[in-house]
């Protein structure tokens, strides 16, 4: 039997996730008619998805290929982060892990210039940059698809925004034989994923979907088709990654 005081305590604990930064952003916005709104991740995520659908090329010019000021220093291939950068990212991410994921251990780090993405198994994904850290939580499930030893299987994909600029992130499991993975986006650009410990992860500025993956395996390069809008990977056959547009469940965002 759940006691009332338990509910009160849990709600209070959960509400404490709301930090002063979010309150300040909202309090200082100008709500007078015809004035611009502050850029919330969710609102701008939806806007970005719509804009990208309506005018994909223009969007690409603004945000793609690592030329966006919003993601200055991003690179389509992983880089090696300094120990200071890695330590700072891990500390920033650990401090923002959602309730229920505090014990989660990082299984993969993807570094691209000054940005570090940390994957906490199925519990959370964190991106930490020079001026921000965002954590996306994932709901617990009993397991997820296996893409086979020479395949990859998606566990999460979402597009979100930072200061009004879209970025897209995918992550999941990589089979034991997958030595490297290069994702081909819908604009034909390529992003090399980080593959380690049976996981892969990649992200890129903009809202283009990944349409296929080129996987290096001991028997040669294998191409895996990634079809947007399809079902998630569910078996050991050719894997269909279902990437989507959405804000993603960003739980904490801070400076």
């Amino acid at each position: 039997m759940i006691e009332e005081h338990e509910l009160r305590e849990v709600f209070a604990a959960r509400a404490a996730d709301v930090g002063p930064g979010a309150v300040a952003r909202l309090s200082h916005a100008d709500y007078r008619p015809r004035m611009s709104r502050v850029g919330s991740p969710a609102a701008l995520g939806a806007l970005a998805a719509t804009a990208a659908t309506a005018a994909g090329v223009a969007w690409l010019v603004g945000l793609g290929a690592g030329t966006s000021n919003a993601f200055a220093g991003w690179s389509p291939s992983p880089t090696t982060g300094s120990s200071v950068q890695n330590a700072r990212a891990q500390a920033a991410c650990a401090a923002r892990l959602p309730a229920g994921a505090h014990d989660a251990k990082p299984v993969l780090s993807d570094t691209r210039g000054p940005y570090t993405v940390t994957i906490y198994s199925r519990a959370a994904t964190c991106i930490s940059g020079p001026t921000f850290t965002s954590v996306s939580g994932a709901r617990a499930t009993s397991g997820f698809a296996y893409g086979g030893p020479q395949g990859i299987a998606l566990s999460g994909a979402h597009m979100t925004t930072r200061d009004g600029h879209a970025y897209t992130m995918v992550q999941g499991r990589a089979g034991d034989d997958v030595k490297s993975a290069t994702l081909v986006l819908s604009d034909d650009s390529r992003v090399k994923a980080t593959v380690a410990n049976g996981w892969f992860a990649a992200w890129w500025p903009g809202s283009h979907d990944a349409v296929r993956a080129e996987l290096a395996t001991p028997t040669g390069t294998r191409t895996q088709t990634l079809r947007t809008g399809g079902p998630a990977c569910t078996g050991s056959g050719p894997c269909t990654l279902s990437t989507g547009h959405g804000s993603g469940p960003t739980l904490h965002t801070g400076p």
């Binding site: 909202l26 989660a104 997820f144 804000s247 960003t250 965002t253």
Partner: protein, 176 residues
């Protein structure tokens, strides 16, 4: 000149309202929709609507109750849209041998976390009622006013929500 003074006064009052109530609105929104980015969005929408109607809202006996009503109804109206936007793509495909044990281990957490997870799995309307009853400590009549429904509906929704919470917790604890 009189209009200008009135306008300035209204603006000052609105700013004071925003300053005084934004935090509580944001916490409430967050607990109802269970997502901070979405909650920020909702609070913005709520305050924008109130700003447009401020002359009428400020004359109300309980502007805060009106703001809460706008917020909760926006949250519930948007719940389906929000669900579509969330694309974490973990829609429980058939379990496999890779991660079953590890994912289960990750979520073997304390009872409070279990309850938080169970609350997060509630339908937004049931969660909204529980939030207003047990976080905001509102009497049932005020919850009914916020939702635009009867007292009986509030009671039955709260009852169903609590029952579902129990069920969710039982299911979790029954997992091997």
């Amino acid at each position: 000149m009189i209009e200008l003074v009135r306008g300035n006064r209204a603006r000052v009052e609105f700013d004071a309202f925003v300053s005084a109530h934004t935090e509580q609105l944001l916490r409430t929104a967050y607990l109802v929709v269970w997502d901070l980015a979405e909650a920020e969005d909702l609070v913005q929408d709520t305050l924008l609507r109130i700003a447009k109607r401020w002359p009428r809202v400020r004359a109300m006996e309980h502007p805060t109750a009106y703001a809460r009503k706008v917020l909760v109804n926006l949250a519930l109206d948007g719940s389906k849209r929000r669900a579509r936007r969330e694309r974490e793509l973990d829609g429980s495909p058939p379990a496999d041998r890779l991660d079953r044990a590890s994912s289960r281990a990750l979520w073997q957490v304390d009872a409070r976390s279990e309850l938080i997870e169970a609350l997060g799995a509630l339908p937004p309307r049931q969660r909204a009622v529980l939030v207003m009853r047990y976080f905001l400590d509102l009497p049932e009549a005020e919850v009914a006013a916020a939702l635009g429904c009867s007292l009986g509906t509030v009671k039955s929704t709260a009852s169903r929500g609590l029952a579902r919470l129990e069920q969710n917790l039982s299911t979790r604890s029954a997992l091997p």
